[in-house]
Each structure stands twice: as C-alpha cells, then as structure tokens.
Subunit: 62 residues, 6 copies
C-alpha cells in the first residue's frame, strides 16, 4: 500500500522516471516485504520558479 | 473544513470535474454534517508518464 | 486510479469514515466510469491547533 | 526543516513568488528560530477549473 | 484561496503556531492582494524518525 | 532537490524506515545524478481506519 509522491525539478526524461520507478519499487518491496502491485509512485515535475530554498527561487541566480 | 486533494489521470473534462465536485460535496455534507461552504476540492491532473504502479509507468504497455 | 487525500478536523468516528469512503467511491465510479478497485482514499485527522483560517488557529476562540 | 507547499490559483507572476518566498522565509526563521537554509517552499499553480468550493468550480460563474 | 501545508519537526508550541499562522497570513495578503479569510494554513508535526535527509533519519546521530 | 512523501500503514519499525531511507536515497542519487544531501524523505504512518480501497476501510474485514 505504500504510496510515493516525488517532487523534483522538471526536465527529467521519461526514461529516468521509468528506471527510478522500477528501482524504488524493487527496493521498497525488499525492505518492507510488500507486493510490487501495492506500490504506487506519483511524480510531480516542479518548475524552478516554483521552488525556493532559503527564501530564493531556484530560477534566480545563486 | 474538509479539504480534498484528488489525483487522477489527465484527460477528464471540465464537465466531469464539475459533476464530481458537486456530487462529492453533497455526499460529504450529508455524512459529516458540515456546510457546503466549508468543503474545498482540488483536482490534480497526472500524466500517465508520472504515475507508476508495480514499478511500471502507466504510459508504458502493460 | 483516482487517489483522494481528505483532511478534516479530528473527531470523526470510524463509522463516519466508513460511510464517507463508501459513498465517495460510489460517486466517483459513477461520474468517472472507473472501477471501485482503482479508488484509494486516505483520511488525515487534523487537530484544531494545526489548522488556521484568516491567520487564526481553529483551537482559538473566534 | 520546515517545508511549505502553497497552492494558489495560477496567474501569479514570478516577481510575486519571489517576494512571497523571501518574506515567508524571513517570517518563519524569526518565529521558529530556524536557519533560512532549512526552509523549502514549493508553489503549485492551480487552474480555476481544478478547484471547487461549496461544490462549484472556480471557473464557473458564482 | 492560497492553501498552505507546512511540515516541520514536532515540538513547536501552540503559541509558535499561532504567531506563525498570523504572520504568514498577513504577509501573504500583502504580497498577493488576497483577503485573509481566503488563506488556510495546515501544519503537520513530523517526528524526527519520519524525516530523512541524505538517506539518514533525523532521529539518528549526525 | 527531490522530496519524497511516502504514506504507508503504521507499524513499520524505525529500523525499516532507516533502511528504506538509505536505500531509496542511494537509488535516487544513482538514477538522477543528484547529491544525497538534496534528497529529503518524509514518511507518513497511516492507520488502517484512515485508508480505504474500493470504498472499504482497511480496518474492516475483506
């Protein structure tokens, strides 16, 4: 039943998401002893103008 | 005060969202005894390449 | 595949959650034409001291 | 370590997000006594057709 | 309509939440030009054993 | 910058969370080419009475 929400900067390829979803699911099944069918992963692509750390947008120069 | 976040695959029409929001709110008010004004519903349209079950993206063939 | 997150003040009974989950799922299946098995609902019980509207905690007198 | 998720209607400018992120971070550091570096803020731009209050989409006339 | 979700380590007092909610709401109204009544803030208290950075739980020694 | 939210039924031990956080972070760094320091993982323990699939609470007999 584990449900993942993963927020990351936009720009990752479908291939990277495919590989990441497969690997994270495998790891989760091994550690928690759950069935792969019960693992859901939802990716959210975040624009750099929509994420700030230390009060500064990531679209701005650091 | 109930606040809903509903994630679903993109592609639902505005008409479906309108009907769903109205029906879910009515149901919630009836069961919880709250006022409609206190119910917020936020939909998130998720691309099939951003959702994986059992380690496989929904944009990939099953 | 619709996944619901529903935040509401703590204090609702299991019976209310049971009734609400059943009714919301039925409504969703009807409007979106999805299978009940694909609908997940996660409730979050929020303390009134953890929710503010208009800058005021709901645990404070209004 | 505070992590903010802020959902608001789409249409806010990058300048507004920049100003809001800076001000919210400063406020948070002052009240909680944390370092700015530990504060993350993620904005989500929500279409009016994806937000309903009282069972009515905000894209619909009120 | 802005809705905030703020996750932070458990242990903050109600007084800190009260002050933070008031200050964040005031800032948001000023920057976005919205009414205070439209601002909701939901705090989530997270145990240090439930938050990891760099693969290490915050309940573990660093 | 990837930030994970992982919801799962309550009952997992701190040891399982520790192992899972370490393994998921390592996998993420490898696939996305990011630094471990940029990966945050937040676990949410969900009671079975707060999660429903197919309209039925997981605390109820299936």
């Amino acid at each position: 039943m584990p449900t993942f929400h993963i927020e990351m900067f936009e720009g990752r390829s479908v291939e990277q998401k495919r590989e990441l979803a497969a690997a994270l699911t495998e790891t989760t099944c091994k550690v928690l002893g759950v069935d792969a069918q019960s693992v859901d992963i939802i990716f959210t692509d975040v624009k750099t103008e929509n994420w700030a750390t230390a009060g500064k947008l990531w679209s701005d120069p650091r």
